[in-house]
């Protein structure tokens, strides 16, 4: 009887393992790669087409595509990693470089990238590649553990039609507004058009999670110091910028009020043409092209006390799994997805991302037939002044998320920025210390 049980168990287990190995085996002499990715529908289409072209030019490689819904992607990927079934090629977040390198999830693909005949590494944005370099202690240096799928510079957009209707001179595309000028212009554009006592049009309406960074940075503040060990949200520069951000609603009333709308809904207002200024990412271009009934363009973010504009660049990486049996083919696929000119063109045509190739990007920016006109602003952010998110430097993002967890009272004017950061800084510091400790522990293994 026991024997029977053992037999059944072994059959079941054998069933499991044979299924599990299908991703890495050789299929009739062919190399099979598993590629796990996520994206919007247009992106998925563009990626599938790119992968097909890759298969055509690499006849010995077959790519098995695993699409995962964006909100489940991280969970699925981490579950796969925990189960030691790392996909051969996969998308991942740059904030995870350290953790994945330390625990041997990512493969060092430097030799494949530098030795590639098809793709010139110099043609991919250096700032993009730097996000995936890590020498064991410092990010941005050393071996390459991935290539950017894309770079997402978050620029400020404005409703051109609204400016023209109000007779206000269009903003200069090279000189940022000062904080005061920005409030002034926004006030002029916050109006009750039909005279019913309710405002129909506002200067702006920013989401604190995604739009506070440019204000803080351009005012000389930051969430973390250069060494990545101290939380600096309690500096005067930071406090001033945060207060300025909150005052847009509570003092200057250039945004929809709390009862009128909060965070999420201002996107809808921008689409309806009720906001003068709103952040625009390259991923918005396809939707805006279809939905906006007004002209829009890009301008630099308002500049605080440093006098210089600031903005963040998001990114998603394409990495190669450390356990892959076909490192060469996997690295080639990663390179192809990141930098192949033809593949890039397909993604750019779908208007879901910027070109990774500097050559393609420059042509694209100069092409006036694609809106918005000042696409150069996106490239300027990448080339000159864009930054990564503060949490990209650290092992986990918990300390950074803590800042936003309890921020609402400040946005509602129930608490001052100074009071808030005094409370938040020690809590964030504690979580950052824990992340640093966690990193040390992981590095020991």
């Amino acid at each position: 009887m026991m024997l029977l049980l053992v037999m059944v168990i072994s059959t079941v287990l054998a069933g499991c393992s044979s299924e599990g190995s299908s991703g890495d085996g050789k299929d009739g002499g062919k190399v099979e790669l598993q590629f796990m990715f996520r994206g919007q529908p247009q992106e998925l289409e563009a990626y599938s087409a790119t992968v097909k072209r890759f298969e055509e030019s690499h006849p010995n490689v077959k790519v098995k595509m695993v699409q995962v819904a964006p909100d489940q992607y991280d969970t699925k990927l981490k579950a796969a990693i925990a189960g030691r079934k790392i996909p051969d090629v996969f998308f991942y977040n740059p904030a995870q470089v350290k953790a994945y390198v330390n625990s041997g999830v990512l493969k060092d693909i430097t030799e494949f990238v530098e030795g590639s005949e098809d793709v010139q590494i110099d043609d991919i944005w250096a700032a993009g590649v730097a996000k995936y370099r890590f020498d064991g202690t410092t990010l941005g240096q050393g071996a390459i553990y991935g290539l950017p799928k894309d770079l997402g510079p978050f620029a400020l957009g404005y409703n051109k039609t609204m400016f023209e209707e109000a007779g206000i001179p269009l903003p200069d595309k090279d000189v940022p507004y000062t904080f005061e000028e920005f409030i002034d212009v926004s006030k002029q554009l916050t109006i009750d058009k039909d005279g019913d006592g309710k405002k129909d049009q506002y200067g702006t309406g920013f989401n604190v999670n995604w739009a506070l960074q440019p204000f803080v940075w351009s005012n000389g503040g930051d969430w973390i110091d250069e060494t990545g060990t101290k939380v600096t949200v309690d500096t005067p520069e930071f406090v001033e910028a945060l207060q300025y951000f909150a005052d847009q609603q509570n003092v200057h009333e250039i945004t929809p009020s709390i009862s009128e709308a909060q965070t999420l809904d201002t996107y809808q207002r921008w689409l309806k043409g009720e906001l003068a200024f709103f952040p625009v990412g390259p991923w918005d271009m396809a939707a805006f092209k279809e939905q906006l009934k007004f002209e829009y363009d890009l301008l630099p973010w308002p500049a605080g006390s440093t006098g210089e504009s600031a903005a963040w660049i998001g990114s998603l990486g394409i990495g190669v799994g450390a356990t892959t049996k076909n490192a060469d083919a996997a690295a080639q696929l990663a390179l192809y997805l990141s930098a192949d000119q033809e593949g890039q063109q397909a993604l750019v045509d779908a208007q879901v991302q910027l070109p990774n190739s500097v050559t393609v990007a420059d042509e694209w920016a100069a092409d006036t037939s694609i809106k918005p006109e000042n696409k150069q602003e996106f490239l300027d952010i990448i080339k000159d002044y864009g930054r990564g998110f503060p949490a990209e430097k650290t092992y986990t993002a918990e300390w950074y998320d803590e800042f936003f967890k309890n921020i609402q009272p400040v946005m509602d004017g129930k608490m001052t920025a100074a009071e808030y950061v005094k409370e938040a800084q020690p809590k964030m510091q504690k979580l950052l210390d824990a992340a640093i400790e966690q990193e040390k522990q992981a590095a020991k293994k």
């Binding site: 168990i9 909100d71 999830v105 809904d265 092992y395």
Partner: protein, 297 residues
């Protein structure tokens, strides 16, 4: 002759074991092994990527000093307020449908649709309904001149909003159970009560309620177990855990720790505490049920 019988027996026996083996193996592989693994994980600093190092009770010590653990526990228990509301509503509905009013079947189906629908789809639908600007709920309130809040962005309304949705979703299931229970109450009881001069309310109090008590008990126990594990609707409707973390449940926090912050050991410890909590609550309910049944007899 003897040999054939025993051969037949043996075949039957083997088949029987095979049939039994399937669910037992399923349980071993997909429930017991992960369970033991996670209990062990609770005593390690496992990050879900590398090796597990045994760290004793450290996770538990940290856990009981973690304000977000308490907050998510509080939120979870608070959201269980929907359970009694749901039970009362379901019983009332079942009573109504049990009277044989026309269209009973249609109503049963209508109330049951949310139960079988995907929770993610429902959450997205309600997220839209709760939208402060153009949501259905506030548009409805506007008819009466009430300016509704931005339900999911407000610390004081986000939990009630989630409760309302959960009650709505669970109503059909509870109602159907009650309906079955009501139909199994012998009509003669009511007739006897009527002869003794009991009014409708008294019959309800002294016949209906005690007769459906086992069902009530079942619903209370399963709802509390389910309620303690609420996750999907929170994850879809308030992906950051709500304003000031006011809608995060324990399972949501466990998930954030495990998959957002590489702290699978800590998350396992939390899951273990939650599991114990559910076990104790259920045990207490069984004890209370035993006692009160005894009293009734």
């Amino acid at each position: 002759m003897k040999a054939t019988t025993s051969k037949l027996h043996r075949t039957e026996e083997r088949n029987a074991w095979l049939f039994i083996a399937a669910p037992i193996l399923g349980f071993l592989i997909f429930a017991l092994v992960p369970l033991i693994y996670s209990i062990y994980g609770a005593f390690t600093n496992w990050d879900g990527l590398g090796q597990m190092t045994f760290i004793g009770l450290e996770n538990f010590i940290n856990l009981f000093q973690d304000e977000y653990f308490y907050k998510s526990m509080y939120n979870t228990i608070f959201m269980m307020l929907g359970i009694p509301v749901g039970i009362v509503l379901a019983l009332l509905l079942a009573l109504g449908l049990n009277r044989g009013i026309p269209g009973t079947n249609t109503f049963r189906v209508l109330y049951y649709i949310p139960v079988v629908s995907s929770i993610a789809a429902i959450a997205i639908l309600w997220q839209w309904a709760y939208n402060g600007d153009y949501g259905l709920v506030n548009q409805f309130l506007a008819i009466f001149g009430i300016e509704g809040p931005n339900w999911l962005q407000n610390t004081s309304t986000v939990k009630p909003a989630l409760i309302i949705m959960a009650v709505w979703k669970g109503l059909g299931y509870t109602m159907l159970l009650y309906l079955a229970a009501l139909q199994s109450v012998p009509k003669s009881f009511y007739e006897a009560a009527k002869l003794d001069g009991a009014n409708a309310f008294k019959s309800f109090l002294y016949i209906t309620l005690p007769m459906v008590k086992p069902v009530t008990f079942f619903i209370v126990v399963t709802s509390i177990i389910g309620g303690a594990q609420i996750f999907a609707e929170i994850n879809v409707m308030t992906p950051t855990g709500g304003p000031e973390y006011s809608s995060a449940s324990v399972v949501f926090y466990v998930w954030q720790k495990a998959f957002g912050n590489f702290q699978l050991g800590y998350a396992s410890a939390m899951a273990l505490v939650l599991g114990l909590f559910i076990f104790i609550i259920t045990l207490i309910q069984f004890k209370i049920n035993e006692k009160s049944s005894f009293d009734l007899d």
